[in-house]
């Protein structure tokens, strides 16, 4: 408490997050997908980005460990936009400490779907498709202008991204103080948007098909077109549903599920059932 003379603590001795802290978290969040794994996806990087700021909020080691464990959990969204959400989480923990733990987790989980849906389609598909085709066509003619144009756009996005934590933190405080329970409606609405996009992702991201053919003398009949007539993306739906079933109903761990999928893939590939 001897630090209370700094202006960094409020009258109750709670740490007030500074712009410098948020900038630091922003730099550390550049780690983003670098710790990607199948169990917690970007969870490790979230803990890495937030650890200095949380250390200042939680002076007690046990509280700090608990707060970090909350952030080590499964997290996966579009990293360029994630800073906005993480900045808002910092604001929640700054105001309420560990009492905000569950709200922080719900908020993160509720927003990561829509953020990934919008971010992936806009930043990871639309821009690379448009700018990429312009840059590529010009490059094929030996012209560098298209590349420079795309590069300029990337630097603008980067500049905006480096302010994501500050923006989220500011808005996060506002969300808590002004909007109160409206955050529940927002999370509900975000879940609707998220699930709609996830429904589309199942059909478009998982591209597994079957090359199996039945032979009747000279006539060969392919299975895949038949499946497509019954239900397009039938195999992706089945695989996703089965994974979901094992995770929720059978309480199988993520690691075992991944090992199971890899072994399954080796068999299916060896016998030519899926490709």
């Amino acid at each position: 408490m001897n630090k209370m003379s700094d202006n960094n603590y409020d009258s109750q001795g709670r740490y007030i997050v500074t712009k410098k802290d948020l900038r630091k978290a922003n730099y550390r969040w550049l780690m983003s997908v670098c710790t990607f794994n199948y169990q917690t996806q970007q969870g490790g990087s979230v803990a890495y980005a937030l650890s200095p700021i949380l250390r200042k909020i939680y002076k007690n080691d046990d509280d700090y460990t608990k707060a970090l464990n909350n952030h080590f959990q499964y997290y996966n969204t579009q990293p360029w936009l994630a800073g906005i959400i993480l900045g808002a989480c910092v604001a929640m923990e700054e105001k309420q400490g560990l009492a905000a733990k569950d709200a922080v987790q719900d908020f993160k989980v509720g927003t990561m779907g829509p953020l990934a849906g919008i971010g992936d389609s806009l930043l990871m598909t639309m821009i690379p498709t448009i700018m990429g085709s312009i840059a590529a066509y010009m490059a094929l003619k030996g012209n560098m202008f298209g590349i420079l144009l795309w590069m300029a756009l990337i630097f603008v996005i980067f500049f905006l991204r480096m302010r994501a934590f500050e923006f989220g933190h500011k808005q996060g405080v506002k969300i808590i103080t002004e909007y109160g329970d409206k955050i529940n409606y927002l999370t509900e609405a975000a879940s609707v948007l998220g699930l709609t996009v996830v429904g589309a992702l199942i059909a478009s991201v998982i591209t597994v098909t079957t090359p199996v053919k039945f032979k009747f003398g000279a006539v060969a009949m392919k299975i895949q077109p038949m499946l497509d007539k019954i239900l397009p993306a039938m195999i992706p739906v089945a695989i996703t549903w089965f994974s979901y079933y094992l995770l929720t109903k059978k309480k199988i761990s993520m690691t075992w599920l991944i090992l199971l999928i890899i072994v399954f893939a080796m068999f299916m590939s060896a016998f030519g059932i899926l490709a």
Partner: protein, 261 residues
Amino acid sequence: MHLTVIQIIMLTLLAFIKHVDYYGIPMLFVNYPVFWGLFTGIIMGDIKTGLVVGGTVQLMSLGVAGFGGSSVPDYGTTAIIATAFGAAVGKQAGLAIGLPVGMLGVQLDVIVKILNGFVVKKSQEYNNNHQYKKMNAILWLGPLFFGLSAAIPVFISVTLGQAAVNFILKSLPSWFMGGLTLAGKLLPAVGIAMLLKYMPAAKYINYLLIGFFFAAFLKVPIIGVAIFGFALAFAVYKQAEKEGEWKKSLQNTQSFVGEDE
């Protein structure tokens, strides 16, 4: 194929930087081949080839993006190798060597993501033991693994050349290669299932079906589905807000009645 030692070092380093950038630090040029073709062209002293090969690979990769952590062919590494060989022996030969290595990238990607699972688990263990410095430090293995997963194939390709690449590809059993490729396609399902586990999927299964219907039957691109999803979300928000205010006013009347008694 004549490369100087400095060129080999710089190409390996470029691949390392590219992949660390792709996965986050600082995530500028992601894995977009047109940039990495150009940078390789500068190292090789042949910008023209860098532009042409980078542009060719960029067009091949259009629409390919690793959503939600799915593993996709490493077209960025393809661009580096294809440009390096392209500058020395010609564009077509360059692509013939670069493409298989890019495909091999899917397998390496899956392996690194499995390894990272152990790294992050260890980091959380350090957190539980209050060893916070180690907790932060060990996470740097992540970018190191990702960097090496591109740097090693590039180093091997540019030092040993086409014969070596073919030998490695041939000596791996086909069930292993095919299996890992298929696993890379299947594993996004696990990520999506995990997402669904954390989202109110059972409560709002109707929206899941709507999204699926648009993509699978009508072939609407993701951005189109997102716009439709936003419209639905907007309606849900308005409805929830209305109900919330109604409940609040109901509570207010009841407490008013209570006070009156």
